[in-house]
């Protein structure tokens, strides 16, 4: 009851979980060999931004629309077509239904 068999393979999650737990244990043991002391409230605790000054908290947080700028910019042509398709106009919703119905009719019945 622990494995599922697809047509050409199998998958057992318990083995995977045990492997991950072993990996975490190895990581933790390696971490325990590190240096534990640090000086509180000095420069060691502040965030490092390659020497740039830190602005207010709202400025430092990257907003959601700017996160995947590279991806959305490179697929710009595709996105222009997609945005034009999603108009929000209620008549267009019915129009798409009629178009798909017509295509299915022509292929299936004629």
């Amino acid at each position: 009851m622990f494995t599922i068999e697809t047509g050409s393979g199998f998958w057992t999650p318990i083995v995977w979980v045990i492997a991950i737990v072993v990996a975490f244990l190895v990581m933790y043991i390696l971490r325990m060999f590190g240096n534990k002391t640090y000086k509180k409230d000095t420069e060691q605790v502040k965030s490092f931004l390659s020497g740039n000054p830190e602005y207010s908290k709202e400025h430092m947080h990257i907003k959601a629309s700017n996160l995947y700028w590279g991806f959305t910019q490179s697929m710009d042509g595709f996105y222009k077509i997609l945005r034009k398709m999603h108009t929000g106009n209620a008549s267009d919703y019915v129009l798409w239904f009629v178009i798909v119905l017509a295509i299915f009719f022509l292929v299936e019945v004629m």
Binding site: M1, F2, T3, I4, T6, G7, S8, G9, W11, P13, I14, W16, V17, K57, E58, M60, H61, I62, K63, A64, S65, L67, Y68, F71, T72, M75, F78, Y79, L82, M85, H86, G88, A90, D92, Y93, V94, W96, F97, I99, V100, L101, F104, F105, V107, E108, V109
Partner: protein, 525 residues
């Protein structure tokens, strides 16, 4: 080993929420808390009935004699010709009923804390119980016109619930678009049922599927039924009502809407496999069987669904609209699995694809519901819709963050959660039909992970913003509801073999062999 339950349990499963819906306005005149407890008790009792029926059906079924419950209204046994309304419950129906009852029970537990400051709550709970009754009736019935009536009940009550917050303009607009699309779909379904009735003089699914031949009018009815039901399920390019109505409804209504969408998907399966089951192997034009024809018609739409859903989800800045587009992509996965199962009917990998699709139905319902509940919790705590304004919430809301991480990993198909198990089956079986399908599915799964990581970063990670400094954790009832779904997700992820062998395989067997469905009505004649 089966529990002795009365004959009329399918009728009880639909009647108990109806009775509760009628009693709720009376009880809410007495006290508010009493009404909440009453609704939770009604839905809990209903889930108990569904669980008993499911236990009986799944333990008594063997691969060549599945156990089917029939309940006829108003007579003792079934006499031919069938003129009364029939509830016929086989493994597929009770599987969807399990999903519906889990979703609605979790929703009312969640709405104890979520809807506390709203007025008009008695109408909310009444409509919610009506919605449950409609959904369960759609899944348990064995009669086409009864299906149409329950479909209309579901769409009317859910449209009124979508427009619940009438003080904001967008909710009312979303509700109007939802009822518009629902009504057009339902009227075309009625048109197709009328065509079938005019030809064969029967409304019962079993009688119709015994008598059906693939004439010209039958082809028209099949196309109308599939396209109208697929529009209600959210297949691209008819999906545009789905983000609008999912994003502007309260979070608990959204997960009930997920149940209603999956009920329309159940309708597609019932029509193709059971109603037209006898003609699926006949040759249509160019000497290919009908099942391959319909399968290859559905597969391109499903692939476009996955791509469009994921691409549009990457750009959104509104939290719930993003999750709604991801839900469109997941519906695309289910249709891809169904299309592959149809196009490769009779081969081993076609059966596996169908199993993967059915397993994915319950996985996706749970994952997307958990994400919507987390979105509702964030709205309750911060009153913000847009992702651009949020940040650094993980310090204040620890449990919500953990639930969101579980939902994120499960939706994107990461091991060891349940999303990976069902998506693995879909990848491997669609690869054997055509490698391009599997490649597109895997790539879009990765993009889905990217989308939700974006949400995780912008809502939960980051420095502590001063305007959110007094945001507290959400009330305990909401955490309890989210915890139930998270526990079920982890359980399905760690023991997938249990679920696939005992629940999903009987469902796939019952769906493909419609001879068993017929013999429950015709009694071996």
């Amino acid at each position: 080993m089966s529990i002795a339950i009365p004959e009329y349990i399918p009728a009880l499963i639909v009647a108990v929420p109806l009775l509760g819906a009628f009693l709720t306005p009376l009880i809410s005149k007495i006290n508010g808390k009493l009404r909440n407890i009453f609704v939770i008790l009604v839905l809990g009792l209903n889930s108990l009935f569904v669980g008993l029926l499911a236990y009986n059906i799944f333990t008594k079924s063997t691969p060549d004699s599945p156990f089917i419950y029939t309940y006829i209204f108003g007579a003792k046994d079934i006499t031919l010709p069938v003129v009364r309304i029939l509830f016929e419950v086989d493994a597929m129906s009770i599987f969807m009923a399990i999903i519906a009852s889990i979703l609605t029970l979790v929703a009312v537990i969640y709405s104890w804390g979520f809807m506390k400051e709203n007025t008009g709550l008695d109408k909310y709970y009444t409509l919610f119980l009506l919605l449950t009754a409609g959904m369960l009736g759609m899944m348990l019935t064995g009669d086409m016109f009864n299906f149409f009536v329950f479909l209309e009940i579901t769409s009317i009550s859910s449209a009124a619930l979508v427009a619940f917050w009438t003080h904001k303009g967008e909710s009312v607009e979303a509700g109007f678009k939802y009822i518009l699309i629902s009504t057009i779909g339902a009227l075309f379904i009625l048109f197709a049922v009328a065509i079938l009735y005019g030809q064969y003089d029967a409304l019962n699914i079993a009688v119709l599927s015994n008598a059906i031949q693939y004439t010209f009018l039958d082809k028209i009815a099949l196309v109308l039924l599939i396209v109208a039901l697929a529009m209600k399920a959210g297949l691209v390019p008819m999906h545009m009502w789905l983000p609008d109505s999912y994003s502007r409804a309260p979070a608990t209504v959204t997960i009930a809407l997920v149940g209603a969408t999956l009920a329309s998907l159940y309708g597609v399966l019932r029509v193709i496999f059971t109603l037209y089951g006898n003609v699926l192997l006949e040759p249509a034009k160019f000497d290919i069987p009908v099942s391959m024809f319909i399968g290859w018609l559905i597969i391109p739409l499903a692939v476009i669904s996955i791509i469009v859903g994921v691409m549009m989800a990457l750009r959104q800045t509104d939290f719930k609209r993003l999750i709604a587009f991801a839900a469109v992509a997941e519906i695309g996965y289910m249709f891809l699995a169904i299309g592959t199962g149809l196009a490769a009917m009779g081969t081993a990998y076609g059966r596996t694809a169908l199993e993967g699709g059915i397993f994915h139905i319950i996985n996706d319902a749970l994952d997307v519901s958990l994400l919507f509940l987390v979105a509702g919790a964030i709205y309750y705590a911060t009153k913000e819709w847009s992702l651009n304004e949020m940040g650094g919430l993980a310090r204040n809301m620890k449990y919500t963050t953990i639930f969101f991480i579980i939902g994120l990993l499960a939706v994107a198909g990461m091991p060891p959660f349940n999303g990976f198990a069902s998506k693995l089956i879909i990848y491997e079986s669609t690869f054997q039909l055509n490698p391009i399908l599997a490649i597109v599915a895997i790539l879009c799964s990765i993009l889905l992970l990217a989308t939700f990581v974006k949400v995780f970063h912008s809502a939960f990670m980051g420095p502590k913003l001063p305007k959110f400094s007094d945001v507290k954790e959400v009330p305990k009832s909401m955490l309890f509801a989210m915890g139930i779904i998270a526990c079920i997700i982890i359980f399905f992820g760690l023991f997938p073999g249990l679920v696939v062998e005992n629940i999903v395989r009987p469902v796939a067997d019952a769906l493909v062999s419609n001879a068993q469905y017929l013999s429950a009505v015709f009694g071996g004649v």
